[in-house]
Symmetry: C2
Subunit: 552 residues, 2 copies
C-alpha cells in the first residue's frame, strides 16, 4: 500500500489540533490509515507496529510526522495545511484573545487562576509568570522538571498560592471542572488527590450517592514524593479544613514517600473534620485513627465521604474461568486499583506501570497472560493526546488483543466529563461490535466513569456500549468483582480433614500446664512423663533415631 509522509521540523502544534488533523486525514477518500504524531521514539515504535515505514526519514522528538497510507495518500498530504486551518472551536470564538499572559492578566484582573497546558519545556516559565502575577496555577503540562516543580511550589507556598501539577489532570474549583473533570453536584465533601482518575472516580461516585463536592484539588502525581514533600497536598488540606463549605475531606494518592505520608497524616489528624484517606497500595492497620478513616478502595472512599453503607451489589456474571484478561485503561488510578485488587487473586499478572509485586511487561505493546495496561503512561502520550481524548491507540490495541485467542476478557474504562473525548463510544462501540462479531464468546467489560450531567450524555454512552455487547459497570468496585468472577480459577482439591469427633481428647507431651488446662476445660487428657531420649545427649539421640528407623 502506498505510504506518503511529511516531516515538519521543530513545529509546535496544540495536540488537539494534531488529533483533529489525524481524524480529518483518515476520513479523506482513498486514505486507509493516517497518523499525526510528534516523532518521539515511542511514537515511532508504535507507527512501526502499525505498519508505517518510519525508517525512510529522519525525525526527532520535536518534529511533527504526518503519515498517510492508501491510494489517496499523496493528495491527503497536500491538504495538510488547509486542514490545519479548519479548527473546531467552542463558545469562546470571536472573543478577545491577548497574546501574552501579562496582557491577559491586565484585562482579567479578577482572574484567580491560570490554566497552563503548553508543552512541558515552556510550562515552568509560564507558571512562574502566573505566580508572579499573584495567580493560582493549574498546571496540566507534563514533562516539567522535578526541580522546577519544587521551585514553583515553594514560591507558591510563600505567597499563599497553589500550584496544582505539573501533570495535574483534574480539579473542581468553585464548582467548575478544570482539565478532565466530571460535572458533579456541589456539596460538603472536599478532595485532595495526587491521582487524576482517582479524583474523578471518587467525585463521580459521591455524586451517584447523592453527595456533592465543595472543592477538589489535584496535586500532580509527584507532589507526595520526598523532594516535593507534599506542599500542594498540605496546602489543600489546610484550605479544606478552614473552608466553611467543607464538612468531610477525602485524601487520595498512590503510596506517598514515608516522610510525606507522616506529614500528611499528622496534618489530617490535626484537622477538625473527618478525613478519609486512601493511599493505594499502602498497608494500614486501622479502620480509623481519631478523625482519620482509612478507605480500601475509591468506591469506599466515596461511601465514607457520604456516610453511605456499601450495598452488596449482585454481580450477575457466572464464574466462567475465562482465559486471560486484558485491561486497556485510560485512567491510571483505575488501572492501579484493579492491579492491586487482582494481585493476590490472579496469576500471572503483568502491567506497564510500577505496582509492587506485579511484573512489568517485556514490551508494553505486547500483552502477556493477564495484563493491565495504562495507556495514559508517558511512554504512550509523548507528543500524542491522552487516551481519554484520543481513542486511536486503544482501538488499535483492542483489535490486536481480540486476535489473541488466549484473551478471553477485555476490560476498558470510558472516562467522561470535561476535557475528555466528546463522544468516545461513537468510536469505541463500532470496534467492539466488530470484534464481537468475529469472536462472540469474547467478554468485554466497560467501566464508565461519569455523571448524567457530563457533556457526553452518560446514558447514551452506556446504551451504546451495552448494544455493542459489553458488560457495563459504573463503579470500579463492582467491575473488579465481575472481573474476578470471570477469571479467578478454583483451587486444586486435596484430601479433606475429617470432622473431629465430638469431645476433645488429648495426649500431652511437654509443658504440664497445657495438660492441666485441658483437664480444667473438661477435655479428656493424658500426660506423657516425657524425658529427652538418651538423657538429652545429641549423639546418642541420633543413634537411637537411626535404630528406630531401621527397626520399623
Amino acid at each position: 500500500m502506498k505510504t506518503k509522509f511529511e516531516v515538519r521540523q521543530g513545529s509546535y502544534y496544540d495536540s488537539i489540533v494534531l488529533m483533529q488533523l489525524q481524524r480529518r486525514l483518515s476520513e479523506l477518500e482513498g486514505v486507509a490509515d493516517a497518523a499525526v504524531v510528534m516523532a518521539t521514539e515511542a511514537n515511532k515504535e508504535m507507527l512501526r507496529a502499525s505498519g508505517f515505514d518510519v525508517d525512510q526519514f529522519v525525525a526527532y522528538a520535536d518534529d511533527l510526522v504526518i503519515m498517510v497510507k492508501g491510494d489517496g495518500a499523496k493528495a491527503a498530504i497536500g491538504r495538510v495545511d488547509e486542514l490545519l486551518q479548519k479548527r473546531s472551536s467552542g463558545g469562546g470564538q470571536g472573543q478577545y484573545r491577548p497574546k501574552s499572559l501579562a496582557t491577559a492578566a491586565k484585562s482579567a484582573a479578577n482572574a484567580q487562576w491560570v490554566l497552563i497546558s503548553v508543552p512541558g519545556r515552556y510550562a515552568a516559565q509560564v507558571a512562574h509568570d502566573a505566580l508572579d502575577l499573584g495567580k493560582h496555577v493549574f498546571l496540566y503540562s507534563d514533562n516539567v522538571a522535578l526541580e522546577d516543580e519544587v521551585a514553583l511550589k515553594q514560591k507558591a507556598r510563600a505567597k499563599g498560592l497553589l500550584v496544582m501539577g505539573p501533570d495535574c489532570g483534574t480539579a473542581i474549583i468553585d464548582g467548575v471542572g478544570l482539565g478532565f473533570a466530571n460535572r458533579v453536584r456541589r456539596g460538603n465533601v472536599g478532595i485532595v488527590a495526587a491521582s487524576g482518575t482517582g479524583l474523578q472516580a471518587v467525585t463521580v461516585k459521591i455524586d451517584q450517592l447523592g453527595g456533592g463536592i465543595s472543592q477538589a484539588f489535584g496535586t500532580g502525581g509527584r507532589d507526595l514524593n520526598a523532594a516535593v514533600a507534599g506542599i500542594t497536598a498540605l496546602q489543600a488540606l489546610d484550605y479544606l479544613n478552614n473552608d466553611p463549605d467543607t464538612e468531610r475531606i477525602v485524601l487520595i494518592s498512590k503510596p506517598p514517600a514515608p516522610s510525606v505520608a507522616t506529614q500528611l497524616l499528622q496534618s489530617a489528624y490535626a484537622c477538625e473534620k473527618p478525613v478519609i484517606v486512601y493511599f493505594l497500595g499502602y498497608a494500614v492497620s486501622a479502620t480509623a485513627i481519631g478523625n482519620v478513616t482509612f478507605a480500601r478502595s475509591l468506591t469506599e472512599a466515596a461511601l465514607l465521604a457520604t456516610a453511605t453503607e456499601l450495598e452488596k451489589s449482585a454481580i450477575d456474571v457466572p464464574h466462567t474461568y475465562e482465559p486471560y484478561m486484558r485491561g486497556l485503561f485510560s485512567g491510571g488510578t483505575l488501572a492501579y486499583e484493579l492491579l492491586l485488587a487482582l494481585r493476590p487473586f490472579v496469576t500471572p499478572l503483568y502491567t506497564n506501570i510500577g505496582v509492587e509485586g506485579v511484573p512489568k511487561l517485556q514490551n508494553s505493546l505486547v500483552s502477556q497472560a493477564n495484563t493491565v495496561i495504562d495507556l495514559g503512561e508517558d511512554e504512550f502520550t509523548q507528543g500524542r493526546l491522552h487516551p481519554m481524548m484520543d481513542n486511536a491507540l486503544r482501538i488499535r490495541r483492542l483489535r490486536e488483543e481480540a486476535t489473541d485467542d488466549a484473551a478471553g476478557l477485555i476490560v476498558l474504562d470510558v472516562v467522561l466529563g470535561e476535557g475528555a473525548h466528546a463522544d468516545p463510544t461513537s468510536e469505541l462501540a463500532p470496534v467492539i461490535e466488530e470484534v464481537k462479531r468475529n469472536r462472540p464468546n469474547l467478554q468485554i467489560i466497560a467501566i464508565v466513569i461519569g455523571t448524567e450531567a457530563d457533556p457526553q450524555g452518560m446514558e447514551e454512552q452506556i446504551g451504546r456500549l451495552q448494544a455493542a455487547g459489553c458488560l457495563v459497570y459504573t463503579d470500579l468496585h463492582n467491575a473488579i468483582n465481575a472481573i474476578t468472577a470471570l477469571i479467578v480459577s478454583p483451587p486444586t482439591a486435596y484430601k479433606t480433614v475429617s470432622p473431629f469427633n465430638a469431645g476433645l481428647s488429648i495426649i500431652n507431651v511437654g509443658l504440664e500446664t497445657f495438660y492441666d488446662s485441658a483437664l480444667e476445660q473438661g477435655a479428656e487428657a493424658i500426660h506423657v512423663e516425657w524425658r529427652p531420649p538418651a538423657g538429652g545427649n545429641a549423639q546418642m539421640m541420633g543413634l537411637l533415631a537411626k535404630l528406630k528407623r531401621s527397626g520399623t
Copy 2:
C-alpha cells in the same frame, strides 16, 4: 553485693519448672535477685544487663545457669534441688502417666490430638510419631527446622491430618483452648490464624460482641511462607468450609508469601461462606472481592465476623503530645498491628521485629525514641518462658523505661486465658504503682486481652491495673487511638491559602478545549493566543528568559 552461681551442664528442665524455681529463689530470705535461665548468648547478655557477672563461668546454650544475688545467695543455691522437687500442679496429679507417646496412645485410643511442647530439637520426632499414630498435632515447640515443618505438614496432608505449628501458640478445638487461648463462647465463626495473639485478640473480641467460635486453628508463623506453602492454613480453611457449625470464616496472618497469598485467597474465594481476611501489612485495594472481605485491623475482623457495626468509642485522653512512647509487648501480633498503625503517624519509631518501614533497634535491650518491643521474639525466649507466662523480663524493662525521662508513655499488653500467667497483675500492678510513685506524670496504657470466663478473672485484673494508675483498654483499636491521641504531634503551621472569591475566573494558556470547557461551565475565562517564545527555538528561549530575569 554477693553473687553465687551454679551451672548444670546439658540439663533439660521444663521451662515452667525453671520459672517456678526462679520465683522461689527470689522469695528466699537474703536474696536480692535471682535468675534461672538456659545459658544462651541472649540470656547471658540480659543477665549482664541486670548486673550479673556471667563471665566468671563458661556455659553454653544447653546449660542451665542459676544465679543469685544477696547475703543469702549461698544458702539459696544450696536449696536448688529441694526447690526443684516442689512442683506445683493442677488437677491431673495422681493420674496415670505413661512414659512414652506410644503407650499413651494405647491407653487413650480415642485421643485425636497430640500436644507437643518439648524443646525444639526433640519436637519434630515426637510430631512424626504422633502422625504415624494417626493423630493431629498441636506443635507448640519453637526452634523446629523449616525442612522438618515441611516434611511434617506434607505427611499430615497426605493422611488427612493437621499439624498446627511449630511455634503454634494457640487454638480452640471443639471448645477447648490449646496452648494460650481464651475461654470464649462457642458459635458460628471459624478462624485460621498464622498469628497467635491475632487469633486470641479476634476470638476475645468476637466473644465481647456476643459471638462465638466454632473452631480456631493456629498454623504457626511460617505456614504461609513459600516453603511451607500454607499447607495447614489451606487444610483448615477447607475444614471450616465443610464444617456445618461454621457460618463465617476469619483468616489472619502477617503478610504471606505472594504465591501463598494467591493460593489462600483463591481458596477463600471458592468457599461457600463469607471469609474475612486480615493480612497485617498487606495492601489490598478492595473492601470485598466476592465472598472475601478485607479487614483493616483485628478489631474490624471481629466486627465483620459478627456482622457488628463499629461503635465510635470516645477516647477520652487529651492530645498531650507526650514525649516518646515505649511499648513492651508479650503479644507479637498486637505489637505488629500497633507498629503498622503508628508507622505513618509517629516518627522516629523503632522496633525489634521486622516491619517494613520501621527501623530495627540497634540493641533490643535499649529503647530509642518511640519503641515497640515484642518480648515474645526468639531473642528473648530462648531457654526462657514466654512473657505471657513469665513477667520477669517485662518488669525489669518497665523499671528501666521509667527511669528514662524521654519516655512519657509506656504501653503494656496483658494477655489472659489458658496457658498464660495465672495472675499477671499481681506482679505487674505493684511495679506500675512503684514507677508511678516516682513519676506521677508518666502515662501507662494497658491493653487487656481476655474474657470474663478466663481463669485469671478479667474484672479483677483490670481493676488492679486501674488502681495502679493505668489507662486500660480491652480492644487494640481503642488503645491505638488513645496512644495516637497522646503522642502524635501537631504539624508545623504555614501560610494558609485565602478563600477563593466566589465565581471562578480563569486565564487559559495552552489547550483551547480547557478554555471552551470553562466557558461552558459558566466560569469567566480568557484564552491567551500563546505561541512558544522565540518560535520554539530553545537557545533563543534561554536568552529571552535571561533577559527577562535581568530586566526585573
